[in-house]
């Protein structure tokens, strides 16, 4: 199905419907927030998933040792009441004594140790394994409410990983006698979060109910129903008819057309996702190609009108041009870097200096936001670079890049909602990543060094050096940050957080 066409037509049709009769809206009468998601919910176990939808759900159903305060991005106690570094390679974590799982059992140190040891067990095949194995050797029970973590390596993101990646499971959750069941929590989740699952029909509907024994602040809304509705036009109709109260990832044109309706509000907040063009400075795909010349890369930076893309294509809500190779709110993402403002004349001059007065031909790969890709293509062509836009599926781009066939691509990265430069830097600037096309060993060294110290000042310093050098050498063309757009019924108060992660558990009725 041509979803874009559906969306556009749907938007037009729905907007035209505004002139007609008023539809009675379901309010908070049954204290049930109904949310729509396009992506199917198939597995409730965040230890075995990675998509954004699952992060949203896991925050409602699961508990973690620590939590991240979305208002200030600071890590705060969760199931853990405190922690202490015994030495560089050992952390003791104290647990609260009032935490209960959804089946009524008390959460204790054995559950925590089991969860972490299970994740790093190669047999678990958990999606969190690669991340946690980088720093954890084993977890040990000291007493009912104390867990000792023996580290495999120093990692500054340990507490953040505990807060955002490891959802706590009951001791033995994945074991039935000698049998291992990786899917034990996929459909029948026993978490310890503010909501418990009462019904789950994979790919169709998830019904959550407030968990009265939750140890933290109780959410205000009693029930949350998440429905999978693949078509955006249908979601709009459900919103207009009162079938749902909340939808996200709403394209701007759709959001604006429905915002005119008094019963519906359009909310736009920041999102940690950024877009950028990765340039083959090392000549991986094209040895001695034009992109190996610094002046060409700088010219491309000057050629693209980022503010207009942010304002007119991304919607202006919370989208901003970016100049560093990370999101400005991320820790370590220094903004004190050389900036290449939009200046096509300067771009042409630089190209001429580099020996390309008539420009050159370039395959530019892209997989998201085609209008943005076309605007970028137009800007680059305006200074003489003849762009062959290779707009493909993400998987195709990934394969081509793995085969070292890509000289330039428009990438995007959401950093899994984590406001730390580590989440974007390592995967794009480490020598084991096929995304790393700069060939600059010094940048790699700084990026990896930043992950090998817990000293935050030192980390900031490493990132500052790396990000500055990336800008100086124009290894990337940083483009824009994204805006998170939502449509909600006007009786719903839905807070927007800086990391762009929707937190339905914090919603309330007005």
């Amino acid at each position: 199905m041509n979803n874009r066409l559906t969306r556009t037509l749907g938007s037009a049709v729905l907007a035209s419907g505004l002139a007609f009769g008023h539809t009675a809206f379901a309010g908070p009468q049954d204290d049930t927030l109904r949310a729509a998601m396009s992506g199917e919910i198939l597995n409730l176990d965040y230890l075995y998933t990675t998509r954004r939808e699952y992060i949203i759900l896991a925050q409602m159903t699961d508990a973690t040792l620590f939590t991240m305060n979305p208002a200030n991005q600071q890590i705060e106690p969760g199931v853990a009441s405190s922690y202490e570094f015994v030495n560089d390679m050992t952390i003791d974590v104290q647990l609260r004594d009032d935490v209960r799982f959804h089946d009524g059992s008390a959460l204790n140190a054995a559950d925590v140790a089991y969860t972490y040891n299970w994740i790093i067990d190669p047999g678990s095949e958990s999606h969190a394994q690669a991340l946690i194995s980088r720093w954890l050797d084993r977890a040990e029970v000291l007493d009912d409410h104390t867990v000792r973590f023996h580290l495999a390596a120093i990692n500054p993101l340990i507490i953040r990983d505990m807060a955002q990646r490891v959802m706590l499971r009951k001791d033995g959750a994945y074991h039935q006698g000698d049998q291992v069941d990786h899917d034990a929590m996929a459909l029948n989740l026993i978490g310890a979060g503010p909501y418990r699952v009462t019904r789950f029909n994979p790919g169709v509907e998830l019904v959550l109910e407030r968990f009265d024994d939750y140890f933290g602040d109780a959410p205000e809304i009693e029930n949350i129903v998440v429905r999978n509705i693949p078509d955006m036009g249908t979601q709009q109709a459900e919103l207009m008819s009162g079938g749902i109260n909340w939808m996200f990832n709403v394209p701007l044109d759709v959001a604006r057309s429905l915002d005119a309706r008094p019963e519906i509000d359009h909310l736009a907040g920041p999102d940690l996702r950024v877009s950028f063009i990765v340039l083959d400075a090392a000549g991986v795909a094209q040895p001695d190609g034009p992109l190996t010349d610094l002046r060409v890369r700088q010219a491309m930076n000057h050629a693209i009108n980022k503010p207009e893309i942010a304002e007119f294509l991304m919607g202006g809500g919370a989208s901003e041009p970016i100049y560093s190779a990370c999101h400005p709110v991320q820790f370590g993402c220094t903004q004190d870097v050389p900036r290449y403002e939009y200046d096509p004349d300067r771009a042409r001059a630089l190209l001429a200096e580099a020996g390309y007065p008539d420009g050159f031909s370039l395959d530019l790969w892209a997989y998201r936001e085609r209008p943005n890709a076309e605007a970028i293509m137009a800007d680059l062509e305006a200074v003489g670079i003849d762009i062959n836009l290779r707009y493909v599926q993400l998987e195709t781009l990934n394969q081509a890049r793995a085969s070292q066939d890509i000289a330039a691509y428009i990438g995007t990265w959401g950093s899994s909602g984590v406001a730390d430069t580590a989440l974007i830097a390592r995967v794009h600037f480490s020598d084991t990543s096929d995304r790393h096309l700069s060939g600059d060993d010094q940048v790699v060294e700084w990026v990896l060094a930043a992950e090998q110290t817990a000293d935050q000042d030192l980390r900031f310093g490493y990132y500052q050096q790396a990000i500055t050098r990336i800008a100086e050498q124009a290894y990337w063309v940083p483009l824009v940050s994204y805006s998170a757009d939502y449509l909600v019924t006007s009786d719903l108060e839905f807070p927007l957080d800086d990391d762009g992660v929707p937190r339905l558990q914090n919603a309330r009725w007005k």
Binding site: M1, N2, L5, T6, L9, G10, V13, L14, G17, F20, G21, T23, E40, L42, N43, T49, T50, R51, E125, H127, Q129, A130, L131, D183, A186, N201, P202, G203, V204, R227, N228, I229, P230, D231, G233, T234, A237, E238, M240, S241, G243, Q393, L394, E395, T396, N398, Q399, W413, G414, S415, S416, V427, T432, S433, D434
Partner: protein
Amino acid sequence: MINYILQRVGLAIAVAFTVSLAAFLLLNIATDPAYAIAGEEADPEVIEQIRVRYGLDRPLWVRYLDWLTGVLRGDFGVSYYWNKPVATLVGERVGTTLTLAFSALFVTIAIAIPLGAAAALNRNTWIDSLALWLAVSAQAVPNFWLGLILIILFAVMIPIFPVSGDHTWLHFVLPAFVLGASSVPPVMRLMRTGLIEVMGSDYIRTARAKGYRGPTLLLRHALRNALLPVVSVLAVQLGQKVGGSVITESIFAINGLGRLALQSILGADIPTVQILIFLFALVFVAMNLLADILNAALDPRIRIR
């Protein structure tokens, strides 16, 4: 006749397997399922882990042969995306899609046959023009657009039907209309042409001479023969409804095989996509076969041949 049917069944299975092989190659060459399964921001280690877990690191031909022998044993494999046996997935949803397909076929019959008959019996009048205009319009309107219009009219502005879902029979009314409407034009035109031809034939003149008029003439003498080509088309249309439910099921969030097909394609879920393509191809060919058998049953001359 039996030989003919057996020959056709063999050909049908060959067609279905050819289609599945082509789909398998295209899916695997165009994309790496491990990336799709892992998600956009998965670590390279996770992607490699998935590749090994699902056997995606094996040669293409080995994977296809594995699948093929599995199907012959009745083992459709396990879905990468849903992490369930494909047979279970299909079994859970086939009823929903068949309900939708038959409802849509009912809509087609209920609209197209009376409309075609009315057009034929009132040839070159305003009724005929209106029927043809409706047919052209219905053919020009894309399914997803008609779906959205109906949702706006009958679920939002005049909330008679639910917007989406498949919990009650009411949920099937709008999608059945959408899916059924797309088949109205060919069936209606065929009905009109067939009836015009039959009404001008000698045996109808004879029947008139014997005093038959009006509904008796139409129902007892004309329709039986006029319906012959229509039955063939309706059988094929039923096959198309099953395979063509992808868009309608997605728009109305109906949890049937069409939506499963779309989800599986987007999720690069090769075991599920393979079986669905195989099933859709089988249904389509089987419906063609059924059409031939029905025609033979309705027309003794075909049986004699």
